[in-house]
Structures are given as C-alpha cells and as structure tokens.
Symmetry: C2
C-alpha cells in the first residue's frame, strides 16, 4: 500500500503526441513522478525520456509493466491497443489510467473493469474534461439546483481533420469521429444526467465511402420526464464546441472549447448573465511543447488520479467506471446505427 | 392590376394577439394601408378596429373577403383555420399572407398553393424571420461564399409554455411544438440549404400523455456530401434560440433570439469574431402594445409582401411556396415519427 507521504510513480506506455502532453501536465502534480516510459522502439522511448527527464526508458511495454518501481501506468497508445495494453498493465498489478476511449466496445470495457476489480487495482478512462475546475463548478451548480429541473443538454465537437490524418480515417486504427471526439459531448450529456441510463439512444449520421468510418453524427439520448441530450460531432468541420444545459430556471453554458473549459456562463431568467473564469495553470518549464490546445489541463486529471491512488481508492467518484461502461454501450449502439464495425467487434478467436 | 403609386389595401382576418402585432408592424410600411378587419364577433372586430384605426369592421370572415376595397388578406386565425380561411380569401380573389404554419399538413398546403396559382393570386406563408435585415445579411454572406462549403446548421427554439396555454397543449387546436415553434428552426435549416430536398429526415421526441401533442423533438435533416442540419424545439423550457452555421472557413451565428434577429456573428478561422447589428425600427405610435417580443419586425415581412403584390408578383422569391411545401413535408414526416395526428390528417369526408 502506498503512503500519502510517498510520490506516486507513473509509467508512460506509448510515447506519442498525447503522452507528451499528458506528461507535461503531470509535471505540475506535486505528488506525481514520472519514473519510466516505453515505446515500440528504444530510440523513441529514449527521445521521449530525454525530452521529459524520465530516468528509465523501455523498448517493450511488457518491460515497463514489469518495472517494480512503477505504481500506475498511463496507457496512451492507439484506441485499438487500449484494451490489450490495459490488460497487460493490470496483469502486472499496475494501476491504470487509459486514454479515452478506454476500449473499442463494451465487451472490452467490461473485461478491463472485471480484471481491475478482480486484482483490486485502480482503473479509469482518461476523461480529463471531467476534472477541469470550470466543469467541476458546473457540477456543483447543478447539484445546488441552480437551474431547477434540467430539461435538455446540447454538446458538440467537430474538427476538420486533414485527409492524411490516418488515425481518424482508417478503420484498422479505430478511426471515425465517435470514439475520438464524439465521446466528449456524450460524456457531457452523461455528466449532466449523472450517469443515468437513457431510455433511448437514436443516431443519425454518415460513414466514409472507402473505409466505412463515421464522418459525422447526431446522437439523441432520451431520458424519462421529457429530458433529453443531443450531441453532434463531425470530422469535417470545426464546430463551436459548446455545452448548453437548459433548465427550468435558466441556462448554463460551458463555453468553447468545452473539452478544455476555462469559462462557463450562467444565465438565469430575469437576471444578467454571469460569466465565471477558471484560467488554466501556467505550464511547467519543459524541453517539449504541447501538441494540443489546453493540454496543461491534463494536470487536473493527473492530480485527481494521483490522489485517488494514494488514498487507496479503486475508482474515481468524479468519473466512475459505470459511466465509462454506459458510454461504451451508447457508442456501441450509435455505431450499430451508423454501420461502423471494427476488428474488435468480431467474435474473438480462441487463443 | 394595382399600380405602384397605389397603397396596398390590407384586410385582417382574425383579430387575435398575433394580428395585433402584425398590424402594428404594418403601420410602418408606407405603401400599405389596413382598411378592414374581421373577427367572429362584431364587438371584437370593432375593438380591434378602434385600437388600430381600421375604418371597416366585420363580424364575418366572408364579409371581409367580399369587400371590394381589400386587395390582400392577412390570415391570423388558429393553425387549424389557416386552410379554410386562405381558401375563402383566394376564392374571393384576394391575395393572401397566411400565418405560419400555412396549413396543418402537406395536403392542405398543396391545395392552397394550387388554388392561388389557378386564380393567379399572391400567396405566402408568413415566415417573417426570413425578412429581417440580419437574416438577409446572413443569406448575402452565404451567397458570397464567406463560409466556403457549409457543413452543418443547428437551430433551436424552446419556450416553457404555461400549462393553461390551451392552443399549444390541445390537439384540436393544432397544438404541439412543431407547428408552432419547431417550424422556425426548420425554416432556418432550409434557408441555409436553399430549399434543397433533404435525403433523409429523422425525428426523435416525445408527446404529451393526455392529448398526444409533441412536447419536444430533435429533427435531423441529412443532405448529400455529408451536410446536415439539426433542429431542437421544446414546449417545456426556454432555449437559447440561436442558429449556428458551420462551414469550411468558419462559423456564422444568428444570435438569440433568432426568430427576431437583430445581431449576427461571423467567426472566420484565424480572424477575430465580427458582430453585426441590425437594430429593429422604432414602433409607430399606437393605442395598442405588442404581445410578443420583436414584433415590430413584422414590418419587414409586411413591406416585402406589399412590394411583391404591388409589383404583380405571385409569390415571394425570398420565401417561395416550394419552400413552404418542403417544410410541410418535413413536418408531416416528423409528426409521423412522433405519432402526432390531427383532425386535418383524417381522410376528408365527401361534402
């Protein structure tokens, strides 16, 4: 068991662009220390290690997972590899934070969660949006009933991905918009309705002619009592990326770009709108630079996970595994409507 | 034939709250004159006439339609009566501006349009949003290609209608959100895609337990080339009511409240957002007051229709009858998905 005085020792599995940003965020977390990283090639791991002052570099993910000095593994590989790499880490008794989407489908998510529970290890899908102070403030306002009964939530995300962005356009790499960006607005809807199971999920969208990955979609989640949430995403255009929550007493908006929110706006009927600002922290000095806007906000998630594990918690109440499972179910349903099928959806061969 | 020097003589059929606002708007149109009005009771017509300085008041709609001094009839009665009252006026050789929705369903709209064409009379559904300078500027910007290819449009409208607002909650009065407010965001989507026929229309929503009228819905219109429009409406909550048009080069927003727009915002990639203001005119002095916010903007529509008729046009190019027909088809399809059926949808009895 870890003591609270100890620093939590992180290992980084996959040294790509998102891992770069995550580690830079983690550098602001006092109780965290990055002790090792692994890539498919030693050169890549060493380059990453030099960039981020990580003492130990592995050319094998298994070697990283065997390192007794590592407490928790951050899985930052491709979507399609989240499942095998998370299982690998859990089997080596490491806690895991796995990038979103945690898996390609519900079946994988269930297996990952079952193994974490069996081994009594921490597991979380890296829904880092959930930990931004602006978003925490939204949850606090909703809990306080500031909007009264919530009736509707809208959330959107869209990027004009370039034609050469293989990861998004190739089915074999887990491409398509839903798993990559659609999951963000879905998680916002789920957040507002506190992980409640929707009564219906309806999806409308389109897939690419060549690879059959989803290019855009509109997903409507229907809840009891006339409550609903609607998300839109697109890989073809830059959307505004806002979350609008409409209640009995007014509207609460997570201003764009909502997935790295630093501003929310509360508009209650008959009152002037109130804007609340939650500036991101200044980045730590680094030899590297961020690949994605707002990535310094990884520190909020890094801090939350670090504290959970140091507190001997096995999941994080701010983003419970039941909610990851719900999203995986919703995404499976949406993909079924769209006709997007991945390798991972095929019946598993007996190995 | 009317000469351009002449004033167009308007008759008002129905003296309700919306007719009050329309006449107040029309008072700002120099080429228009309101010469007569009719209500179901003489007292109501006379009260309306006194309020708006209308010289002739009728207690019968037919009497109004027979008045040789009337050139054009504004039909401002209940939704369910738009069809019979429009036919009545057309049969008496009057031009007609009929409140939105022009009819309860596509079949009625087709008959109304066929009769107007047969009699060579002007007919328009009163989609007054279309004539606001802010909205005309949006169309001009889109025509100039300022956004490049348009990918998506979102529009919404929602009001927390009180429980005693019979018109919205009673099926016999043409209740439900789609015909009353949902038509506005639908017309915005149709405007952006220039009346193009969508490839698919998908509707998700709910109906009231007692009367079976639609309480909320999300309608997605899918067009070729990955283009889509999404509308949301609700009779249960006050929505922000914006229109967001996302294109290749940026975003164009019709700011709330979009159905009486006075402000638009153009945000092109890499450029600061540009807000454009189109203040409404000052109302003419009146013994009455407006029932609905922004109603002075009826003058834009009143001016457009007045000029069309004085120019001997039989429909208005800014809001063609083909587009009304398209919306009636889309709304029929949406109602079918929702299970909302009106008396007007029943097979017509042979009279």
């Amino acid at each position: 068991m870890l003591s609270k005085q100890q620093k939590l020792r992180w290992g980084i599995l996959g040294c790509g662009r998102i891992a770069n940003d995550f580690v830079m965020g983690l550098h602001l977390v006092a109780a965290a220390r990055v002790v090792a990283c692994a890539s498919r090639s030693l050169e890549a791991a060493q380059a990453f290690g030099r960039m981020h002052d990580i003492p130990t570099c592995y050319e094998s993910y298994e070697a990283l997972c065997c390192d007794p000095n590592v407490d928790v593994i951050y899985v930052g590989t491709l979507h399609t590899l989240h499942y095998p790499h998370t299982l690998l880490a859990l089997r080596h008794n490491k806690h895991v934070l796995v990038e979103k989407p945690m898996s390609m489908n519900q079946r994988e998510a269930e297996e990952m969660i079952a193994l974490a529970r069996e081994k009594n290890l921490f597991l979380m899908e890296a829904m880092w949006t959930r930990f931004f102070p602006a978003v925490r403030q939204v949850r606090a306002l909703l809990r306080d009933g500031v909007l009264g009964a919530v009736h509707a939530v809208k959330a959107d995300m869209g990027f004009a991905f370039p034609a050469n962005a293989d990861r998004i356009w190739k089915r074999s790499l887990g491409g398509g918009g839903l798993l990559d960006i659609g999951i963000y607005p879905l998680a916002f809807v789920s957040m507002v309705f506190e992980g409640e199971e929707p009564e219906n999920v309806h999806t409308v969208g389109a897939t690419s002619a060549d690879e059959g990955v989803d290019t855009y979609a509109v997903v409507t989640l229907q809840y009891s009592k006339n409550r609903f949430g609607t998300i839109q995403y697109s890989c073809l255009a830059d959307f505004v990326e806002e979350v609008v929550i409409v209640g009995e007493k007014g509207t609460l908006r997570i201003n764009a770009p909502a997935h790295v929110a630093d501003r929310i706006t509360l508009s209650l009927h008959g009152q002037p709108s109130q804007e609340m600002h939650f500036p991101h922290p200044a980045p730590a000095p680094s030899k590297s630079s961020f690949n994605f806007g707002g990535s310094v906000g990884f520190m909020y998630e890094g801090e939350a996970v670090t504290q959970c594990i140091l507190n001997n918690e096995r999941e994080c109440s701010e983003y419970a595994l039941s909610e990851s499972l719900l999203l995986s179910r919703v995404m499976d349903s949406a993909r079924k409507s769209l006709g997007v099928v991945y390798e991972a959806d095929q019946p598993r061969s007996s190995l």
